[in-house]
Amino acid sequence: MQEHQHFKNYHVESRTFTGRVLLTSILILGLTAVLLYRYYSLQVTNHEDYATQSDNNRILVQTISPQRGLIFDADGKLLADNRPSYILSLVPENIKSIDDTITLLRTLVTITDNHVNDFYKSLKTNRRPYQAIPLRFRLTEEEIAKIAVNEYRLDGVEVQAKLVRDYPAGSLFAHSIGYVGKINDREWNNFDEDKVKRYQSVHTIGKIGIEKSYEDVLFGEVGYRNVEINARMRVLRTLEQQNPIQGKDLRLHINSRLQQIAVDALGDRRGAVVAIDVETGGVLSIVSSPSYDPNLFVTGISYKNYNALRNSLDIPLFDRALQGRYPPASTIKPMMGLGGLSEKVISRSYKIFDPGFYQLENDDRLYRDWKRTGHGIVNVHKAIVQSSDTFFYDLAFRMGVDRIHHFGAQFGLGQKTGIDLPSERRGLWPSREWKKQTQRLPWFPGDTINLGIGQGYALATPLQLATMVTTIANRGKHLQPQVVKMIGEELLPPKIINQVEVDERYWDHIFKSMKDVMHAPNGTARRAGSKSSYMMAGKTGTAQVVGIKQNEKYDSEALRERHRDHALFVGFAPLDNPKIAVSVIVENGESGSGTAAPIARKIFDAHLLHKSSAQKKVPIKLSATSLSPLSAERSSQSQRIKLAQRDAQ
């Protein structure tokens, strides 16, 4: 056999070959089946997954930020604008070394450590790849030129035009309109999914004031654009686009002219002024002084500026009108008198003798009148006109804390007014329950007596006092104060909170008393009310900053300036058909009649005597006014829209 194999056997060779070919044919079919199964599983069984993955590869959803709504005052003057601003941003994916690039940029434009820190912070937050991160805002023309010249060595550096909020009136409305600012970590963390989407390309949010409380309205709705990109993130075409819904414009009740007059009247004193339209509850003016420039916050305030504001003894960041809690002092006397009359505790003719102090039976404590010699025989009218403390000590004692609390609460004391501004404080309108709960002490008769003249536990914000006096001016119709008059084209109706039911005769009586405060020869604010062409009503107040001990004479000279009394005034005008109600607080202003009342008078005059204010309707102007030097450069609306669209890309 061994021998035999040395010869070629063609037949066997052919047969063997055919056998092997058959074998390989089976192998080929088997392996092909494996391949086809593989493709079947990819293309048919798991098609959905891969189709999704393929779409995820190529489709990028870009947000198109809407234009933030503008804010106008009652006369149509622009108070919050969107201005194009040039932003230096980096696209990290296109940069070899971020540190080197920043170092290089620092030789060209001003970049502080603060900018760099903020940049790295945003770099760490959720972002899409290839999304530019802002480094510097508000580039000057010169800086833009420098970057353009060095473009060749600045890969991944972009200069984008973006709309930035601008407040042409500067510090005039810092507390009321507020400002938008960069979204901070805490805000990001509290955002739900929708908000994260919404703010992804916007970076700023309303921080305080109208900008915060009307954020949703002003913001509008984000638009989306599905773009097709290639592997290098180049956008090739737009597949689908949903345009953004622009934010709605707001028109305020606030009148810039009145606001300016109030600010000027306050001058460099610390204090607050709130003026309310009696008919609607619309806030005509709301001032907290001193103020600051909200534009500083829009693109991130520097630490230096921020610390200066924060550490200032005058606390300009503090909104006195909404958050400052002051003893209402004598300004609540008209309301107290009304309460006494309404509750039949006193009558219009009820009289007491005021020896200059008040004393409870079985108690040596003397409750002093501000006038040491007393006012003699006083009724409720005289007690309001001359601001007798003794009369109201007596009234409060007779009325009792429960009735006082109940009656005062109807005027909004101790409650938030519900104004459409954020961070309002509720003040304090004490009751037995309140004292028991917070101090674990029973209510003492002395507490009631102090409450009668708005001292003791009672605290109110200037806004609450304005609301109170508006309610009086409205004869019990308690309106919710509102800053915003119109959202877009929609007029916001006045909101009535409650109606204080008091006999008309008593209203008349209190109106007369308050008128005489301003116009009677013995009225405390007669100087402020003199020589006017209309009648006004008011009540002064002087709030103790430091409690005066028994038998101690109050000597303002000896106290440091900041321990002087606060000067207060509430009032409305004209008497017969009230249009405007005002509360004024001047911190350490000493005298309600001397300091606060004249401010109110200026506001009354400005509102009632200015011819074109209420009657003439000024059309809304978009580009405006000499308030900001930047306004001249402000581009037209259409240009802004274009910028916003470009910006979204």
Binding site: F7, Y10, H11, T16, F17, T32, Y39, V44
Partner: protein, 386 residues
């Protein structure tokens, strides 16, 4: 010898008479196998259509590829005219020539990505390893067909040496894909020659045993990475895994009927790398879907079936072994490429035969089909092995 000749003659009588009848046929005269030609034309046309899409409608690229096709077809027709005996006779020269060029590549080769695969002659660049794909089966088929079959150990041994030397040279370039194909084109001849099962089994055992040392001492880092990537492409998403993830996404997103010609997003938006070369089937799968893949695979299977049919009907062992090797190697080509693009096999640089862009491999393959056509249309000889 005479006795064997006669025996062969007798065995061939019915077929010979069959051949005699067809002798006057046009195809026999021009040495063209019409079925194979039709299938190849269908495949190359389809290939150009896919390539057009993969190259983003780049006309100059398509034109260049068309020129290659023309050259390849001319080469195929030319080879088909040559009597097979000449190949058998000059097989040693082919083999040594190809081997010499491979050695030259080691010293004067040019290339990219750390591999020296090309020889540059003025403006013409070619891959000597491609020539070996033909020289190898010709040499081993010629060598073994002169021996008694099944091959004895001595002949198996020398055959293996013939396979090993060029394979190692190509691995050194390094070009794992081509070396595998070259080795297979030689080994397949051995298998078809009737290599005894005990050899095959011991080789299989040896292969399994050699996996560990191969892994550690022979494979390059990038090759190892490719294998690892196969098992877990997600581990290196942007690096080695990228190709596989993207090609699987392209294939999978094609679905049953595809996204449509020129509408493949993975390839047109550059997510799919090597889309007009090694990964072109992903483009096809994306744009023509599973139906397109099925069509392509069926086309390949028909070509392979025709090749094997030609091999079975060939006149002697040399022709049988050569035709069988060319056909089976062609299948391996297809299998490795289609498998690797779909993540079934590691990524080795094997193009999709007759579809992927590239001149050298195209010409080599078509020359191989030229040999098949020659074998298919050769006039029967009453006597041979003279």
């Amino acid at each position: 010898m005479l006795a064997y000749n006669r025996q062969d003659f007798i065995r061939r009588m019915p077929e010979a008479s069959h051949d005699l009848r067809r002798r006057r046929s046009f195809w026999r005269v021009v040495h063209i196998d019409p079925i194979l030609l039709l299938l190849l034309l269908a495949l190359t046309t389809f290939g150009l259509v896919v390539l057009y899409s993969a190259s983003e409608g780049n006309n100059s690229l398509i034109k260049r590829q068309a020129v290659f096709f023309t050259i390849a077809y001319i080469g195929m027709f030319t080879v088909a005219q040559i009597r097979l005996d000449y190949f058998s006779r000059w097989s040693v020269l082919f083999y040594l020539g190809a081997l010499g060029l491979l050695v030259l590549v080691l010293f004067f080769g040019v290339g990219a990505k750390g591999a020296q695969r090309w020889l540059s002659l003025g403006s013409i660049r070619f891959q000597p390893s491609e020539m070996m794909k033909l020289a190898m089966p010709i040499a081993i088929a010629a060598y073994l067909s002169k021996k008694t079959l099944p091959p004895r150990f001595k002949h198996v041994f020398w055959s293996l040496i013939l396979v090993a030397v060029p394979t190692v040279l190509i691995v050194k370039q390094p070009d794992l894909g081509t070396s595998i194909l070259v080795a297979i084109s030689g080994l397949v001849v051995l298998f078809y020659a009737g290599l005894r099962w005990r050899y095959i089994l011991s080789a299989a055992v040896l292969l399994v045993a050699s996996i560990w040392p191969m892994w550690h001492y022979v494979l390059h880092d990038y090759q190892r990475r490719r294998v690892l990537t196969l098992f877990d492409p997600e581990a290196d998403k942007l690096g080695a895994g990228w190709n596989i993830i993207q090609s699987k996404t392209a294939i999978g997103s094609g679905g049953i009927d595809g996204k449509g010609w020129l509408d493949g997003t993975q390839s047109h938006l550059d997510f799919l790398p090597e889309s007009h070369t090694d990964f072109i089937i992903a483009v096809l799968a994306e744009e023509f879907g599973f139906i397109g893949v099925l069509g392509l695979v069926v086309l390949y299977l028909l070509i392979i079936a025709r090749g094997l049919f030609i091999a079975i009907n060939a006149q002697d062992s040399f022709r049988r072994l050569l035709a069988g090797s060319i056909t089976l190697t062609f299948f391996v080509y297809v299998f490795v490429n289609v498998g690797m693009v779909s993540g079934l096999l590691p990524v080795v640089g094997v193009p999709l035969p007759l579809v992927s862009l590239g001149g050298t491999s195209l010409v080599t393959l078509m020359l191989g089909f030229g040999l098949l056509m020659g074998i298919s249309t050769e006039p029967p000889r009453i006597t041979h092995n003279r």
